[in-house]
Amino acid sequence: MGEMEQLRKEAESLKDQIIVARKGFADTTLQEAVAGTAVVSRVQLKTRKTLRGHLAKIYAMHWGAGLTQCVSASQDGKLIVWDTLSTNKVNAIPLKSSWVMTCAYAPSGNLVACGGLDNMCSIYNLKGKDGNVKVMRELASHTGYLSCCRFVSDSEIITSSGDCTCILWDIETGTEKTIFAGHLGDCMSLGVAPDFKSFISGACDYTAKHWDIRDGNCTHTLSGHESDVNAIGFFPNGNGILTGSDDATCKLYDLRSDQELITYQDATIMCGVTSLAPSLSGRLLLAGYDDFNVNIWDALKAERVGVLAGHDNRVSCIGVSSDGMACCTGSWDSFLKIWN
């Protein structure tokens, strides 16, 4: 077909144009730009709290916007809201489906959400009138597992799915506002921008995509990883994107120069990255790996400056609290640990 061939040629030509354009703006490297900056000194964090209570692998955790509460999800079929200071369980929510893969805490603190192999995102109201925590909405239309979800507000949530799409939902009506299609593989993770105007997604097509929440467009597609992108997060300045992959590396991309700035890798690290979180200033990148450890990287110098070793199984999730005071890790060993 003449038109197919024409389109194929145009696609190839555009891809080449993008490569050339990016090179044109690569007047230096991050490495060169920070050559005069010293590496941070060794970071040694200690476990301050261990949150015990889950009976099976923990798959996800998310800090609340307040300073000390977080929510965790385990395949024991429970969502637990913790007061990390006292280690008390504020809520232990039994789930309809125990095959949960993600959880999220709304910035307001009023709602939590979770989902997994049931292909749905369930929203729970923590502040119901009678004190009982009940399912408020079940957002169902994904045709694949729910890998991640993040609230934009109490009325909107974004989900990523094994069906290769992300969806922005209206929680009130339980309907899809926008479907973000474009990834060519399972979407594994998502992160919302600090200004809530855009979000990023990492997928099994080895790329990260940046999307405008309002107009639904994918504005950037960032490649370079050699395997599934499992973890993704914004650099705190809102312009950088951090990714973690099964290729055993993490990468930092910059949205405004539309390219990769640096790769965090080490010959001794041969297992996949499961999760990541930047510290408050972005200078430290904490990344969880399949080998049960968390490596702490100097994000500017791309050198490893610390290790958190304390779990007896894969670290599946990690998060830094909103005031940067502590890091929480969740593991397949069923425990969460708070470090600082």
Partner: protein, 71 residues
């Protein structure tokens, strides 16, 4: 190949080209600028970063101080 699948392949290819045009046209800045901004952001916020600076026990809510002062 049936007409329907041929059409849908065409639509997919058209969407892919449209998306690539959008991504190709994005405004870019130099890596030197992006890197400088990142470095500045890190250095300016370093003093506020507890995990980077370390948290003295007295200020660490996750670690009760060893002694209690009674007023």
């Amino acid at each position: 190949m049936s007409n329907n699948s041929a059409n849908s392949n065409l639509v997919t290819a058209q969407k892919a080209v449209k998306q690539l045009r959008l991504e190709a046209s994005v405004r870019r800045i130099k890596v030197s600028q992006a890197a400088a901004d990142l470095k500045t952001f890190c250095l300016q916020n370093a003093h506020k970063d507890p995990l980077l600076m370390g948290v003295p026990s007295s200020d660490n809510p996750f670690r009760p101080p060893k002694s209690c002062a009674l007023f």
